[in-house]
Symmetry: C2
Subunit: 161 residues, 2 copies
């Protein structure tokens, strides 16, 4: 997951229709870490016994975890480092289940060169090709090319996982 | 942060103008956990030396961490457990810095009773009252009252923090 080197795509490398993908599998660890960082301890995500009583029938990922993947895709691939995140819309279409691999596809929809404002179509599909979320992002693209060495994250340990 | 018991607000308890708040401080731990769960290792969040070279001058929280707080507010307070998250728009207005305490205010804007669809105005302010993000959420409100006992999250340990 952790890239060693991140390159961005400055405004002059962007064009309408340009597309990038970013994938991540949802693990139990991810659900616990998302709950810890946000405080969202809703048991539909964390408690299999409770989740079985809901219409989902099993634990599902936090909807905004998929939003976090969209933001990760923007911050690490298109346009990448140096971007300024201005806005995001998301529509949650289907639940994401533990073990699902979600692929975010970003596609440049429009570019306002004078203010470097880029609109990105955002789609998230699971491993079966089912659209789980869709939306639009607005970012200010970086002006200059950057290639950054990324330090590894500190080790994160979860009791019992 | 971890509530021991969560109560929801079913559709018949909701009315236009009803409001709830949810607060959380952004710590270095939260930044690392958000990076781990999303894969967003952009160094503007994680590397003080790099962040000092950006227009922000210091590490900032992931924009979508504030989005995660908005979703946590919905999932734990208004309407709380049993809600189905349909959509979210967010505009990021100002950076969130390490140590900032962000308060999300949710206010019921409209209710379509027949389909239990509730629109919530979402505002996030820092401890100085500065608006850092704003947006609108769409949720299907639960039909039935629930009060749930919440199991504590497993302990999460981060190397060096």
């Amino acid at each position: 997951m952790t890239a060693n080197r991140l390159k961005n795509m400055p405004i002059d490398e962007l064009s309408e229709g340009l597309s990038r993908q970013y994938s991540k599998q949802l693990t139990q660890r991810d659900v616990v870490l998302f709950a810890a960082t946000s405080g969202d301890v809703n048991p539909v995500h964390l408690d299999a016994e409770y989740a079985a009583t809901t219409s989902f029938g099993e634990p599902i990922g936090h909807g905004m975890w998929t939003g976090a993947l969209v933001s990760a895709a923007i911050a690490t691939t298109l346009p990448g480092p140096g971007s300024v995140y201005r806005g995001q819309s998301l529509q949650f279409k289907k639940p994401v289940k533990l073990g699902d691999t979600i692929t975010v596809t970003l596609t440049v929809e429009s570019i306002r060169v004078r203010v470097a404002l880029v609109t990105l179509k955002c789609e998230a599909h699971n491993q079966d090709g089912v659209l789980v979320a869709t939306g639009t992002a607005e970012v200010i693209a970086p002006k200059e090319k950057q290639a950054l060495d990324i330090k590894p994250l500190p080790a994160v340990t979860i009791e019992g996982l």
